[in-house]
């Protein structure tokens, strides 16, 4: 083999290497690092807000939520309204880039007595992370502020974070009556099984302050 034909072969080999790196990168980049398992962080406790007293800030007037802030997670998102799907499960926010959170409209408005329920996606398919991607990282006493349509705001403090199997969803804990204004943030978590998340991450919070 002459020197330059050898060089040609070397050049082609380099081409192979470059192409191979591209292909290999694609295979690894799809699921490494941001897998759902990272979301399924263990909860910080099993008790909801049971330990807190009923006294606290005065409930706010009824007004639908329009915005949600979670400073600890860098979340600041609009809030849409959600109802029931035809199969009687709760509707979920749209799958979009910059997906919003959604307030379940058959629950009390934030700041009213009872559990106000807000849902958000952990991931939104091809769009990547959802608005509640890091929800499981919240810890007790972290603040959550909900802005209401009438200009007031309700500030909640996290009382517990739970990761539960969807098969054992704690319906009563989430939707059951409470004497004071509380908040539930719900998303998915845990490992993916057949393309679906196995668990739900539920944040329980109680009203800490209000802004008129």
């Amino acid at each position: 083999m002459t020197p330059f034909s050898r060089r040609a072969v070397v050049a082609v080999a380099v081409a192979f290497l470059v192409a191979g790196c591209g292909g290999g990168g694609s295979g690894g980049g799809g699921s490494v690092g941001d897998g759902p398992a990272a979301t399924g962080a263990p909860g910080t406790g099993a008790s909801a807000a049971a330990g807190s007293s009923v006294s606290g800030p005065r409930p706010l007037a009824r007004s639908v939520p329009v915005g949600l802030e979670i400073p600890a997670l860098g979340v600041d998102t609009p809030v849409v309204r959600l109802g029931l799907a035809p199969d009687r499960t709760v509707e979920v926010p749209p799958i979009t880039a910059d997906d919003p959170a959604g307030w379940y409209r058959y629950s009390p408005t934030p700041g009213r007595p009872g559990p106000s329920v807000i849902l958000g996606h952990v991931t939104v398919g091809a769009y990547g992370d959802g608005v509640f991607r890091q929800l499981a990282r919240l810890r007790r006493d972290d603040g959550i502020t909900v802005r209401l349509e009438n200009g007031t705001a309700a500030e909640f403090a996290v009382t517990s974070v739970r990761t539960v199997a969807k098969a054992d969803f704690p319906t009563e804990d989430v939707y059951g009556d409470t004497a004071r204004p509380e908040l539930r943030l719900i998303t998915c978590g845990g490992p993916l099984e057949d393309g679906e998340y196995r668990d739900n991450v539920i944040v329980f919070a109680a009203l800490r302050a209000t802004t008129p």
Partner: protein
């Protein structure tokens, strides 16, 4: 020499094809769930769920109105919410890398071919 050039070109083409194959075998990018965007207006609009099957009108009418002044959850949903559309494993990014890899292979092969031809023309 010509044989060398031709075999180099053939190898380059093989490289390009090898990198392009997985991309063409990939499924098209995932179709996002057609979850109905909840609307702020109207009771009926919120009842149009993510499923396109509009067969549950009865349930719509049977659904109580949202609690206006009453506290607590007026309608408890069934089951657990499905708040996670699984991430598309490497779909868009993977395609991009494949395309990049293929393009790099083409460039490298072209460079190699030019190099061989020029060397040959100069008689080295």
């Amino acid at each position: 020499m010509l044989r060398n050039v031709l075999s180099a070109a053939a190898l380059a083409c093989t490289a390009v094809l090898a990198t392009a194959m997985p991309a063409s075998a990939d499924d098209p990018s995932p179709v996002p769930d057609t979850t109905a965007a909840p609307t702020d207006s109207g009771e009926q609009a919120a009842e149009t769920g993510p499923s396109p099957v509009p067969s549950d009108r009865g349930a719509t009418e049977a659904t109580p109105a949202p609690a206006e002044e009453g506290d607590g959850v007026s309608v408890v949903p069934r089951g657990a919410p499905d708040t996670g559309d699984a991430p598309a494993a490497g779909q868009s990014g993977g395609d991009g890398l494949l395309i990049g890899g293929g393009a790099a292979a083409v460039l490298a092969a072209g460079g190699a071919a030019v190099f061989v031809v020029r060397r040959r023309a100069s008689g080295a």
